[in-house]
Symmetry: C2
């Protein structure tokens, strides 16, 4: 395919994409396929000779689309949102075309520099403390990670390295292995599974802190565990707080937890993967109070800030903590400017070496929407969640299971878990809307998350009519 | 921006991209900017109100392009290739638009299933042993990772988990921490820095195995170290072999190393990040002989197989080894089919939770080029490297520093390292071509890698004329 054909096919693809997104609600949101469906539809080996583009694009509808869960359908209410916007898509095309691999400043200065400035822009939109902003006299700065999982892992590894060095400074005879086996990390029992996984990867113990009735970790709960562990001769070194948990969008009380971590010399990382985007609205910003005590803070613009996946924003209070943990300098990656102290080599800030020019997506989105436009998007989705909450509350058969603060409503039919499992199964088998469950205090709960940018009030109303219809059918069954 | 505007702007972006790539050689390959250049060109904060698209796109030329290192210029000969092709770009647009997050089968069945089949296609193109192919009776399969760094880390973590369990089976009293502190991993002294970094992350000791005159690890070199470590009471558990090292594209002798690792119950991972693509050509496939002894094998289609970044292919002999290391099952990620044994939930195979629909890029590229077209691309680039090698060999002032097997030529001016450092500095400051150095046996060496798909013989000839001109000027200087 030469440039001339790319011009033609590219235009067709742009139209295909616009058609797909304009008409997405006509497709069943959840696919009706069995495991292994795709293998039977295509050859077992790659072709030896080139095929025509027409044949390939025909196969997108024949092979791919029947097996797609349509995350951008206005009837998709599962997991949390995955961001999507036209400006981000245009920027992503440019990113792919430039195709630089930005592991060091020299590998493409614009890639590194735009990222640093975009993380500053975003940090200011969130009103983060100055020490997280690179363009200040502080020692911190931001970086784009692929996912919150990677951001959590980087923070835990940086904390582990810092703790080992701290212990060895006073007890040089202790081996790294011995110290690591004495370290203890903490997180909420409601934290995302990736947090526990980070501890497994890092080879450290992680203890789950119990939450209160609102699924919130409060200061005293952590304090009690830290004291127990210190009394047992262990070394508390890391706490991962969550702002907006995955099951119910609960918020840990970081104004209490932060000072405790600072006093105990524990690294506090904040995982606000979903909810973080909302902090650009002044009315939600108080939920981030306490961030000034944190060593690192992360959220995913690729969830709720209109920047397509992947784009997870991580800020650290001290660049040296994260860079120092894993710096490697082979000659083939050295460049003239790196010793000047003026440049950032982002490869030291992340697990992978290679990296895409992802900040272009942020730049396009921030400028095409403006802060006011992005705030309007957040507010609209929160209002839709409140609208759904009202519908649930007005129906005596149902209950709301957690406070609705952002775009997530946790609800259930009053009664047994089995009844709710059956309801969810009926809903998802029907494929008109798509939800996933969670577990709260032993109850099986349905999560209704406002996800798609295309979701409007009429979709919420239709979804609720559908849920009540499914409920009606369920309750009609002889077994009930 | 609505769909109608996206149609218009999308077409413009397609044309901008085609123009950029068609005329890329008219841009200086390496940017003439100082650290911090970009911050002065744009505002310090995001705009409150939306800006016009015209203003943003104008800024691409004003702000971004002056700071881009043009990896796809035919005069870019640095690092290793980053793949780029029009079919991959089209597929990437589709991937972004579908915008599913494929962490589990249910999250988008097509995303998981196409990936499994594409890894099978590619495995067959490489003539991998059956046990790596998912659609066989074996226990293995393939997965797309972001980068080779992540693939290496995953293999090391899986090996660590397996080793801990193996030791604990006979010595249940040993703690995980104690066992980890006794483990020893090995890799070539020529291995990529990401291998050593994986060991740092995993908290295990990694020893560097010395290479022979060809920068190759041979069986006896590893055997000697393993025996020393066993005698000292340590537990050798992992060896990362390299096929195509970063400094000189050297190949470890895996036909000797594989049987040794199998005998010693050590996991053998093969990192063929760059060279792996060439194994689709029968004439290069013998370099992969010995892969049948490996537990895992990885290379980067995003380097040399025309699939844009990111797309790193990893195969494992036993799925259970990699999945078992880090499986987490929160309720919100469970789905009906996962216990059937028929589905793959790729989130267990990787560090991140989220993942893009990257296999679309492979599907488009394999079908639009056909195996024969991709082989032709590899062969053309190897021939260009041989052409450059001949030019160097014909000039008595220069020497070739490592056998030229694929698309990399390591060369230097005879004489001091300082002379070569000065030559490289002169070349890169001039910005007509771009190279990076490496160190081989204490010598400062220039690496000339065939990178861009657009590179032709005339660019090689021009690059060599330029290098000899720079050499002439350097040798004219009074200090010489």
């Amino acid at each position: 395919m030469d440039a001339a054909e790319f011009r033609r096919r590219g235009r067709e693809m742009v139209d295909y994409i616009a058609d797909y997104l304009e008409n997405i609600e006509q497709r069943p949101v959840y696919p009706d396929v069995e495991p292994g469906y795709l293998r039977t539809l295509i050859p077992t080996e790659a072709p030896t000779e080139p095929e025509s583009y027409e044949d390939i694009i025909k196969d997108v509808e024949r092979v791919i689309m029947p097996g797609v869960t349509h995350w951008h359908s206005p009837y998709f209410f599962a997991y949390y949102a995955a961001a999507s916007s036209y400006p981000a898509m245009l920027a992503d095309m440019l990113c792919t075309a430039i195709g630089c691999i930005g592991f060091s400043w020299a590998a493409s200065p614009a890639c590194t520099e735009l990222e640093t400035v975009m993380l500053d822009w975003l940090g200011k939109m969130l009103n983060l403390p100055d020490h997280f902003i690179a363009g200040t006299h502080g020692h911190g700065g931001g970086v784009i990670q692929g996912t919150a999982s990677e951001a959590t892992l980087m923070s835990l590894l940086a904390a582990r390295c810092k703790a080992v060095r701290h212990v060895q400074a006073s007890k040089p005879e202790k081996s790294e292995g011995t110290i690591i086996s004495e370290l203890v990390a903490y997180t909420s029992e409601q934290a995302h599974s990736s947090v526990e996984r980070a501890a497994l990867i890092g080879g450290v113990v992680m203890r789950k802190v119990p939450t209160d009735n609102n699924y919130t970790v409060v200061g005293d709960a952590l304090k009690k565990m830290v004291e127990e562990d210190k009394a047992a001769g262990l070394i508390p070194f890391y706490f991962c707080a969550t702002l907006g948990t995955t099951p119910s969008c609960a918020f840990d009380r970081i104004t209490e937890l932060g000072p405790l971590c600072n006093k105990e010399n524990m690294w506090m990382h904040i995982d606000a993967a979903y909810a973080g985007s909302a902090f650009i609205c002044p009315e939600f910003r108080p939920l981030l109070n306490g961030v000034e005590f944190a060593d690192s803070f992360n959220f995913n613009p690729h969830k709720w800030l209109l920047v397509n996946f992947d784009c997870s924003a991580l800020w650290v209070k001290k660049r040296a903590d994260i860079i120092g943990a894993f710096k490697m300098e082979p000659l083939y990656l050295k460049h003239e400017n790196q010793e000047s102290g003026l440049v950032t080599d982002y490869r030291h800030w992340q697990i992978p070496l290679g990296r895409r020019f992802r900040s272009l997506k942020m730049w396009f989105v921030f400028r095409m929407y403006g802060l006011s436009g992005i705030q309007a998007h957040i507010r609209k989705q929160v209002a839709l969640a409140k609208e759904f909450e009202s519908l649930v509350r007005a129906d005596q058969r149902f209950e709301i299971c957690a406070e609705v603060i952002m775009g997530l409503v946790c609800f259930r039919l009053k009664g047994s878990n089995e009844r709710n499992q059956n309801l969810l199964k009926r809903i998802n088998t029907n494929r008109e809307i798509h939800l996933v469950p969670c577990q709260l205090s032993g109850s099986f709960v349905l999560r209704f998350a406002i996800c798609s940018r295309a979701t409007e009030s009429r979709h919420i109303q239709q979804a609720w009519r559908h849920i009540t219809q499914m409920t009606f059918e369920l309750l009609q069954e002889p077994s009930h």
